[in-house]
């Protein structure tokens, strides 16, 4: 069974600054992968390359074995790749409910009326049901992050790319989020999750990957990766022998 999503020798640089250097990474069907690394390490750029909003300098992106490197973002969404943005990108002038309906209708190709009920249930799961008719532009940052998640889920993805959805949450809110993501996994969706709140990540992912200076410097079982000296040094600066 080919990996559901795979990066093959992906390279990308902005000017002389290397964002990705010959990266090979693949996500198995149903797997949940955590992606960590210090700021500016190229994590969000990888999501841009996966969803087609950023073109790589070299290398290929494969979805279920097919090369989608040239595919437009809207085609990739319909194919089953969904993404939440690190900096929320709501449709400001539209209501929360309408935001999710757009993703559901155009992400799955169903008729608008066909997706109404599913969208409302999704808002309930994401804790936004009481704000369904409120314009998205007026939401608090946390609610906008929830809307990002709800919109990504509304496209009924096969692969869900989460970009720092847990930042700024209280412990209770974080626990609710973790449960929600576990549910999503149960329904067979494969996940890649960029996150700085490490304890939330560890509660969900099967594998942890560390990206630094455009290179994968660790890739394996989460607890082992966290203890790895090179990760400690890069991630927190505590010297390897420390």
């Amino acid at each position: 069974m080919p990996a559901i999503l795979a990066f093959e020798n992906i390279s990308k640089r902005f000017g002389a600054v290397v964002i990705a250097e010959d990266i090979d990474l693949s996500l198995a069907q149903g797997e949940a992968l955590g992606l960590i690394g210090p700021n500016g390490a190229g994590k969000t750029t990888l999501f841009g390359i996966a969803t087609g909003t950023i073109a790589p300098d070299a290398g290929k992106v494969l979805f279920e074995g097919q090369n989608i490197t040239g595919l437009k973002p809207e085609r990739r969404c319909r194919a089953g790749i969904a993404r939440s943005f690190q900096v929320p990108q709501p449709f400001d002038g539209m209501s929360v409910f309408e935001n999710v309906v757009v993703a559901a209708a155009f992400g799955t190709g169903q008729s608008e009326h066909g997706v109404y009920r599913g969208c409302f249930e999704l808002l309930e799961k994401c804790g936004l049901a009481d704000k369904a008719n409120r314009t998205a532009g007026a939401l608090t940052l946390l609610d906008r992050k929830r809307l990002e998640l709800a919109r990504a889920l509304a496209t009924q993805p096969r692969v869900l790319l989460l970009d720092e959805v847990a930042g700024g949450l209280t412990d209770e809110e974080c626990a609710v989020l973790v449960e929600l993501i576990k549910d999503v996994r149960q329904s067979g969706v494969s996940i890649v999750w960029i996150e700085h709140i490490v304890h939330a990540l560890l509660a969900v992912v099967d594998r942890l990957v560390v990206l630094h200076g455009g290179r994968l410097i660790a890739n394996g079982e989460p607890e082992a990766v966290i203890q790895q000296p090179s990760v400690q040094e890069i991630y927190m600066g505590i010297p390897a022998d420390g």
């Binding site: 902005f14 000017g15 002389a16 600054v17 290397v18 210090p38 700021n39 500016g40 390490a41 608090t140 940052l141 946390l142 930042g167 700024g168 209280t170 412990d171 700085h196 490490v198 200076g213 040094e233 890069i234 927190m236 600066g237 505590i238 010297p239 420390g242």
Partner: protein, 245 residues
């Protein structure tokens, strides 16, 4: 301690409806080196932007050289003696290395730092002075960003995440130069994820976590465990940090 060069008093900061800083207070003496550490999203960069004037705050929330500067805009702070090396370097892409340095000093103040002196500090830049900024390596770009701020001859140099995206060896090379900068009596505030460099360089350390100062003390007095606990927001003995957040 004599009148501090920089005195931050119960500073709050908001991004639209999201509050990033909750009553932050800290001081930097003239010629002193202070480090601010904390996990990503703790509010370190927001603090720097408030001090540099990119984010306006309460007039009396920030005092510099005894004057209330909380609501002074960024373009006036340079003349008062505050220069910021922004996170991610952000050099001017259509300017050469030399032009980036010159524009740093354009509205700065008279003082020891000139083009020649910056080139002495970072000799590699003298060779690459006429090269367009984007074609430099990450480390070299960081040197230009620091040189650009020095050209304004500030009393307080704010350094935001110097180690960002740089290999450890390059980070060590840059930090090795800081003593040459502070030798001229310039105060330094370093914001860093890289704790080792931050501690080694500083006399005073503050640790931010979710917008609050959770740890403060001289670099020597702080043990690795207390820093790691504050750094990771792991529930230390004082119970949950989140209170009313």
């Amino acid at each position: 301690m004599a009148e501090p060069l920089l005195d931050v008093r119960a500073l709050d900061a908001h991004y639209g409806d999201f509050q990033a800083l909750f009553g932050v207070s800290m001081r930097v003496g003239a010629g002193q080196v202070v480090s601010v550490i904390g996990a990503n999203g703790a509010g370190k960069s927001t603090l720097m932007k408030c001090i540099a004037g990119l984010i306006r705050s309460r007039r009396d929330a920030i005092l510099f050289n005894g004057a209330e500067v909380g609501d002074v805009p960024a373009y006036d702070m340079v003349a008062r003696g505050v220069a910021l090396v922004p996170e991610g370097r952000r050099l001017f892409g259509s300017l050469t290395v030399e032009e980036n340095l010159l524009i740093g000093g354009q509205h700065g103040r008279p003082g020891p730092w000139s083009l020649a002196r910056v080139f002495d500090l970072f000799p590699i830049l003298r060779e690459r002075r006429n090269v367009a900024a984007p074609s430099l390596s990450g480390g070299q770009q960081q040197m230009v960003a620091i040189g650009r701020a020095l050209m304004a001859n500030p009393d307080l140099l704010l350094c935001d995440e110097i180690s960002l995206g740089l290999a450890p060896a390059v980070v060590r090379e840059i930090y090795a130069r800081l003593p040459d900068i502070t030798a001229s009596g310039m105060a330094l505030m370093i914001v860093e994820q890289d704790i080792v460099q931050a501690l080694a360089a500083a006399q005073q350390v503050y640790c931010l976590q979710e917008g609050r100062v959770v740890l403060e003390g001289s670099a020597a007095s702080l043990t690795r465990e207390r820093i790691a606990a504050a750094y990771f927001g792991v529930r230390s003995a004082q119970g949950s940090h989140h209170g009313a957040a």
